[in-house]
């Protein structure tokens, strides 16, 4: 039986953590003299009141087991998006709460799919909050709350495991709270570096911060209608490409490189090599396909746009500089493939994750080897360590579940009357937390024309993708709730 009391308690604590970030948008509202301050203040107040109320009525002590951890994290995300949607709804950014919820969930899950047709008409505070959700959701709402709230200490590992992406959740240091803090410190330091570089590129502080949120969280919301393409600057493209690539790598590696002052860790890590290899290969081939199609006059320009698009999609960011729908089929196809691969474990990126794809390839190779040598005894290793059967089967079943959710959701969208490319890519892009897809949801379009039902399906996909399928899907099994 799931102990609901303690779940409510932990959920309340998780949700309240977003409040200071919501308030951080207000200075920009003041500076740009926009009229969104009441919406932000009321939203923050509502979050605090409901959060504290839930906290006060629920038991503070209790065992947080596996099930409680999963439920608290999933519920925490559902509620964070519910309260995160309030500024959009109260200000009137969207006519319906469905749209506001879609936008907030898209923000927290770092999807970056927008239901907003004209972004630039929105006030600064709303746009700041919209991008801010990426930054919080990137490293994780739960990791954030673990870092700042000592009360989550007991059973925190269950929460951590349920949120951190990847087949295993590793700590940096023995204490979970310290681990969460250091993750956020590394995250903040890299984020600050990007802001400085963007400022140096001539962007305003507001634009630098919001694009940094989108990059570091691998989200993809931009306060500009034309996304990063707005600036038409090779420098900005390059900086953002580089930081998207960093954010899509495992933060454990960043932490180790930083604490040991040694970059060799990257080269030793199998997943990172696979990630970098995929990016390099697809960037070069896509650039050549662009050159061959004669879209850009120079190889340098082809490369610039190819690297931006490839990194933007594999890291599941979804920023755009060019409408890649105008690219040759090879470009579409690689981007669609990349939507499934995603970033590394322990990164802010989404989708299946490089480590899992890499391990699936290893499992397949192993199977082929055993056809040739039926008597061979072999183990599958990852970074020099033997991978146990539990982890292998969890990787395989996650892949199957991911595809199952993908198939069901895209079938549902097709049923609602969408064309195949739109249905497939919209689900791939929301389930993988990328944002823009192809067809009617390409980088030059948005999700505003979707029906409410289609929006809820996509919203669900975002959550399922961010929490890596299991944490959400398990709630639909009656076994989970049984005594």
């Amino acid at each position: 039986m799931v102990r609901l009391g303690i779940v409510v308690n932990r959920t309340a604590l998780i949700v309240v953590c977003i409040v200071p970030f919501m308030l951080s948008a207000i200075p920009f509202s003041l500076y740009y003299r926009t009229d969104d301050i009441p919406a932000l203040l009321w939203s923050a107040a509502a979050t605090v009141v409901v959060g504290l109320l839930l906290y006060l009525v629920s038991p503070k002590e209790g065992d947080v087991g596996h099930k409680e951890g999963i439920l608290a994290v999933t519920l925490g995300w559902v509620l964070a998006a519910a309260f995160g949607a309030l500024p959009f709804y109260l200000y009137g950014t969207f006519p319906t709460y469905t749209d506001a919820y879609f936008e907030a969930m898209s923000g927290f899950t770092t999807t970056g799919a927008s239901a907003l047709a004209d972004i630039e008409r929105q006030p600064a505070g709303i746009l700041f909050w919209r991008s801010m959700t990426h930054w919080i959701g990137g490293m994780g709402i739960v990791v954030l709350s673990l870092a700042i709230l000592p009360a989550l200490g007991a059973g925190g590992m269950q929460l951590f495991k349920a949120e951190v992406p990847g087949p295993t959740a590793d700590k940096l240091v023995p204490r979970l709270r310290e681990t969460a803090r250091r993750l956020y410190v590394v995250y903040a330091v890299i984020s600050a570096a990007e802001v400085v570089l963007l400022l140096a590129g001539g962007l305003s502080l507001f634009d630098s911060l919001t694009h940094m949120f989108g990059t570091m969280g691998t989200g993809g919301f931009s306060p500009k209608n034309a996304s990063v393409g707005h600036y038409r600057s090779p420098y900005v493209d390059l900086v953002i490409s580089a930081f998207m690539f960093i954010a899509g790598a495992n933060f454990l590696l960043h932490y180790q490189a930083w604490s040991k002052r040694d970059l060799a860790g990257y080269a030793r890590d199998e997943e990172f090599r696979f990630y970098a290899g995929v990016v390099a290969f697809l960037t070069v081939t896509t650039a050549f396909s662009l050159l061959r199609a004669g879209l850009y006059p120079h190889i340098a320009e082809s490369l610039r746009h190819a690297v931006f698009a490839v990194v933007s999609i594999i890291t599941t960011t979804g920023f755009a500089t060019e409408d890649f729908e105008r690219w040759p089929t090879y470009g579409h196809y690689t981007l669609l493939l990349l939507m499934f691969i995603g970033g590394c474990a322990g990164s802010t990126g989404g989708a299946i994750k490089c480590v899992r794809v890499w391990m699936l390839l290893k499992i397949a190779a192993n199977q082929v080897f055993r056809i040739v040598h039926p008597k061979a005894v072999r183990t599958i290793r990852y970074n020099g360590r033997i991978v146990g059967p539990d982890v292998l089967s969890s990787i395989q079943s996650l892949f199957v579940l991911y595809l199952a959710v993908f198939v069901l959701a895209s079938l549902a969208l097709a049923w609602l009357g969408m064309d195949a490319i739109t249905a497939i890519s919209a689900v791939a892009a929301t389930l993988g937390n990328i944002g823009p897809g192809l067809g009617a949801v390409g980088p030059a379009d948005n999700y505003s024309h979707f029906s409410p039902v289609a929006k809820w399906i996509c919203t669900g996909c975002m959550l399922v993708g961010r929490l890596e399928v299991y944490s959400v899907v398990v709630l639909f099994f009656p076994e989970f709730w049984r005594k």
Partner: protein, 447 residues
């Protein structure tokens, strides 16, 4: 403080849990992946899978930055090798468990010093000492010693015949002039209660009393317990622990009978024990026990490898008239069940070993620790250092946190069971009972 714990068995798990709560950064090295996962999920510690005697594994656990290593894996040699390696890696403090007395007692090894081990703990020896203490105080289920044995804490099960029943504790105050004592805690239906003057004791309560050694007898009378001097002891099980217990009891000039099932082992035991009567037989067999006069026995100690057999043997003995029956149990939570079935005391090697280790780790300001089972409350003996916050203050003004009770103040040879106006003088030893949440504050006040 970074601490590496090798082995997440009963002792390792418990120590990791306690030290993690006390602020150590713990890395647990465990070979069994299933156990490792359980530790990782339940405790706020880092875990590494592998053999604790492997430099590769130890490096992964961060041995170069470690300040303390506690090697409590199942195999003695692994623990010793881990400490030897830890010394080479420059870990300042090293603790190991070794069950084989060849390691822990041989003069050449000098209690582990020659191997670079600061505390080499033999759980069997610790168990044997506990048994001796329990045999010497027949009425108590647990005994803890403070101030070199001058102050005792006794865990006593209250029977229906105790004269103290139905009277509030404050009614006993006149007695304090002659036999001062403090009831620091009551375990009632599995919950720990801190008594005040209005609390009345009920049959079935398990109380913890702190008193001077020489006041124990009158207190026991008050509680309806006869304090007889034990003479005849029956030990069931002649394994390493049984042998050790028998040796220690022999040294204390008690009459010991030792029952062992394996005839070959009986031969060995007979050679090693000079005055003990070694018997061949089954400890749960009533006839054997009756033949050997179990009804005249003062204390029965069942210490075979099989905890179920121990409980059974203790039950049978108790039922046939043994005055006190004790059983060794491996799973500590079984201890709280024992009083309900009439067994007087449970002995848990895990709890005993862990508390010896904890005492060593906290050594310095904490001189001695007695853990209240099932509650994580502790009775601590601490020295009042001159710069301590409490030095020179009266007990009531010392700012002790709720959940802490001063049970005794020892000035040199003089032992005071304190009142509100008693004063903490520098260099006094103070015995304090504290609930888990009060422990850090208590330690802070005394340092």
């Amino acid at each position: 403080m970074r601490t590496i714990v090798i082995g997440a068995g009963e002792v390792g798990y418990h120590i990791a849990e306690r030290l993690s709560r006390e602020g150590h950064d713990i890395v647990v090295v465990e070979q069994d992946p299933e156990v490792r996962t359980r530790v990782q999920d339940r405790l706020d510690v880092m875990t590494v899978e592998g053999n604790g005697a492997s430099p590769r594994v130890l490096e992964e656990a961060g041995i170069r930055e470690a300040d303390l290593i506690i090697a409590v894996a199942d195999i003695d040699e692994v623990n010793i090798a881990a400490c030897l390696l830890a010394k080479e890696y420059g870990v300042p403090k090293r603790i190991a468990r070794a069950r084989n007395p060849d390691f822990s007692e041989h003069a050449f090894l000098d209690h582990g010093k020659r191997l670079g081990i600061d505390l080499l703990i033999n759980p069997n020896a610790v168990v044997a000492e506990e048994v001796l203490d329990l045999v010497k105080t027949p009425a108590a289920a647990e005994v803890g010693k403070f101030a070199g044995g001058k102050v005792l804490i006794l865990g006593i099960q209250i029977g229906p015949e105790a004269p103290i029943l139905d009277r509030p504790l404050k009614a006993l105050r006149p007695l304090h002039a002659t036999t001062p004592f403090v009831v620091v805690a009551i375990l009632r239906e599995g919950r720990l209660i801190l008594p005040d003057g209005n609390t009345t004791l009920r049959p079935g309560d398990h109380i913890y009393v702190v008193a001077r050694r020489e006041s124990i007898n009158p207190i026991l009378t008050l509680l309806g317990k006869k304090d007889e001097v034990a003479e005849r002891v029956f030990v069931v099980g002649g394994g390493r622990i049984g042998l050790r217990v028998a040796q220690l009891l022999e040294e204390a000039h008690l009459k010991v009978k030792l029952l062992e099932r394996n005839p070959a082992r009986c031969e060995e035991l007979a050679r090693m024990l000079a005055r003990t009567i070694v018997l061949h037989g089954d400890g749960t067999d009533v006839n054997t026990l009756l033949e050997e006069g179990i009804s005249d026995i003062d204390a029965v100690v069942a210490v075979t490898d099989d905890e179920a057999a121990n409980i059974l043997a203790a039950l049978v003995a108790k039922e046939r008239g043994a005055k006190k029956a004790m059983a060794l149990v491996k799973r500590p939570h079984l201890i709280e069940l024992l009083p309900h079935v009439g067994i007087d005391a449970g002995i848990s090697p895990r709890i005993l070993t862990a508390s010896v280790i904890l005492r060593f780790v906290r050594r310095g300001h904490v001189l001695s620790i007695f853990e209240i089972p099932q509650s994580e409350a502790e009775t601590l003996e601490m020295m009042v250092v001159p710069q301590a916050a409490v030095a020179g203050k009266e007990v009531r003004d010392a700012g002790l946190p709720a959940g802490a009770i001063v049970a005794a103040i020892v000035h040199g040879d003089e032992i005071e069971i304190p009142r509100g106006d008693s004063v903490f003088r520098p260099d006094d030893h103070v015995v304090v009972f504290a609930l888990p949440k009060a422990i850090p504050e208590v330690e802070r006040l005394f340092t």
